[in-house]
């Protein structure tokens, strides 16, 4: 059966019958990706040791690997994807989801420590993005994209050292990595992050709530108006909650969200997606340079 949400990791996903149980086998045959997949498994195992109320982590039975291959064998979750869930969810289910996201990120914040992330982390990453954009054949002659990269460099150079919680995060907390099973939300596809901060998880979730990123990957027809209404509601609730609580969120959310979209842009190859990303990045630069445009 074809999955409705397309992933980008390049891993093979197979559903395996094991006695009367279903299991997911996620594997890679790319030697370069093996250490990354093992890290993801370790991150998922670590995360599953904590209690998150309605947020759950699929149980990993086994991680098998050689130098060339790796397979994670984990619990299969009967679930809906976020679009099917939002298309059916009543207001109280959305309220539970908002509460669960806040609770999960607050736990991550509590499990982290406030640290100084040196300015070079951001500027080096920006240099890496600029390099990848200049080598991407779909972007290297795109004047607008190159202009946006130059403007983004100025933003990243002005951020300076960042003081924020560092220690734990999911790493790719988009809606496409959440499986919806009633009022239980299962997190999958943990990923290493260039800053292991809960702030990066807020950035990722708002990649979907504020910018509807994962809906671009969805192939079936759906009620776009309803999804936009739900996303807007979740986005406002998350933004208000963390804005009121944390200065580091108010200060660094926008530059890190800009970096997040630049990191997607650097691999862009579909015209539709590149056009969308340029619009988003231009809007973000406009807000950063003049917060009244928010």
């Amino acid at each position: 059966m074809k999955l409705d949400i397309q992933g980008h990791s390049g891993c093979d996903i197979v559903i395996v019958h094991n006695d009367n149980e279903l299991r997911i086998h996620k594997s890679t045959h790319d030697p370069n990706y093996v250490p990354r997949l093992i890290n993801q498994a370790n991150k998922q195992i670590e995360a599953s040791k904590r209690e998150y109320q309605n947020i759950r982590i699929p149980f990993i039975f086994e991680v098998e690997h050689t130098d060339r291959d790796a397979t994670i064998k984990m619990e299969y979750i009967y679930s809906k994807n976020f679009i099917e869930y939002f298309e059916n969810a009543g207001f109280e289910q959305i309220k539970y989801l908002i509460g669960a996201i806040k609770y999960f990120i607050d736990l991550e914040i509590n499990a982290s420590t406030i640290q100084t992330v040196p300015s070079c982390v951001l500027t080096d990453k920006m240099a890496d993005v600029a390099r990848k954009v200049s080598k991407n054949k779909h972007l290297q002659d795109d004047e607008k994209a190159l202009e946006l990269v130059e403007l983004s460099k100025q933003v990243m150079n002005s951020v300076g050292d960042m003081v924020m919680p560092v220690g734990t995060c999911h790493g790719d907390l988009t809606f496409s990595n959440i499986l919806f099973n009633g009022n239980n939300y299962y997190l999958i596809d943990f990923l290493d992050s260039f800053i292991e901060s809960p702030l990066l998880d807020i950035v990722k979730i708002r990649q979907d709530t504020a910018y509807l990123w994962s809906t671009l990957m969805y192939g079936k027809p759906f009620d776009k108006v309803r999804l936009s209404i739900v996303s807007e509601k979740i986005d406002k609730a998350i933004d208000e909650y963390f804005s009121a609580k944390y200065e580091w969120y108010r200060k660094y959310y926008m530059p890190l969200q800009l970096m997040n979209f630049l990191r997607i842009l650097q691999y862009g190859h579909e015209e539709k997606v590149i056009t969308y990303l340029k619009q988003v990045i231009e809007g973000q630069l406009s807000i950063i340079n003049n917060p009244k445009n928010a």
Partner: protein, 227 residues
């Protein structure tokens, strides 16, 4: 007391030559859009606005016909609001009617292509609901569905997806006309925008909606298609 709005400002290529269905007459000589409101408790309604398009007005001389219908049914508080341009949604038609007529307070919106009767409409946010199993013929694609909890509070309203055995029967009560317009303004750039989207956005913001129980539901849009 509340204001009743009957939006009939949808345009369709068929209407160039053909009278829109809500302006046709039943066997007793009553226009369907007027018949659509005759099951409502009129003692709770202070003003009634039938919202039509200028194009339809000029083509079919509707306001004169409606005036005769108002006399026939003794609707002394009924008015015709004419919009110069067709709207993109029923919600926009309602918002235009509210603004053009300076309507304040409670608004009841009644679809013109169906009938139901009810004894009472409480002055609160509400959605008229009817059980699918009461219908001999169902056209499930053209309805929105309403989920209610055990204590009869609306928990969800969904366009064209059968998530409940109650469907929205074409009557919507909003306790504050200004608030309705605020929500419309917030959502007006979305398309296609349905009243169910406005209600869902209000539910997400903790506005309370109660179901309005109705009887004798008739869906003329289905009847027309079947003919």
């Amino acid at each position: 007391m509340m204001t009743l709005i009957v939006p009939i400002a949808a345009d369709h290529s068929d209407y160039v030559k053909k009278l829109p269905q809500p302006f046709r007459f039943d066997d007793e000589g009553t226009m369907f859009c007027v018949k659509a409101i005759t099951g409502l408790p009129m003692e709770e309604i202070k003003d009634i606005y039938f919202v039509i398009l200028r194009d339809h007005e000029e083509r079919f001389m509707l306001s004169e016909q409606l005036a005769m219908q108002f006399r026939k049914h003794n609707l002394k508080n009924a008015h015709v609001t004419i919009l110069d341009h067709h709207t993109s949604s029923q919600a926009e038609t309602v918002a235009c009617a509210i603004r053009m007529n300076g309507i304040k307070g409670i608004v009841f919106v009644k679809d013109a292509d169906c009938y139901f009767s009810t004894d009472e409409i409480l002055p609160q946010n509400g959605v008229a609901i009817y059980a699918l199993e009461n219908l001999p013929i169902v056209d499930p694609q053209h309805k929105s569905y309403v989920a209610v909890d055990d204590m009869f509070y609306v928990t969800n309203i969904i366009e064209k997806r059968v998530v409940s055995h109650f469907f929205s029967a074409g009557g919507y009560c909003f306790e504050d006309a200004d608030e309705f317009c605020d929500y419309f303004d917030r959502l007006k750039d979305y398309s296609p925008l349905y009243l169910s989207h406005i209600i869902y956005a209000m539910l997400l913001d903790k506005r309370i909606f109660r179901p309005i129980e109705i009887d004798n539901y008739q869906d003329w849009s289905v009847a027309v298609k079947l003919v």
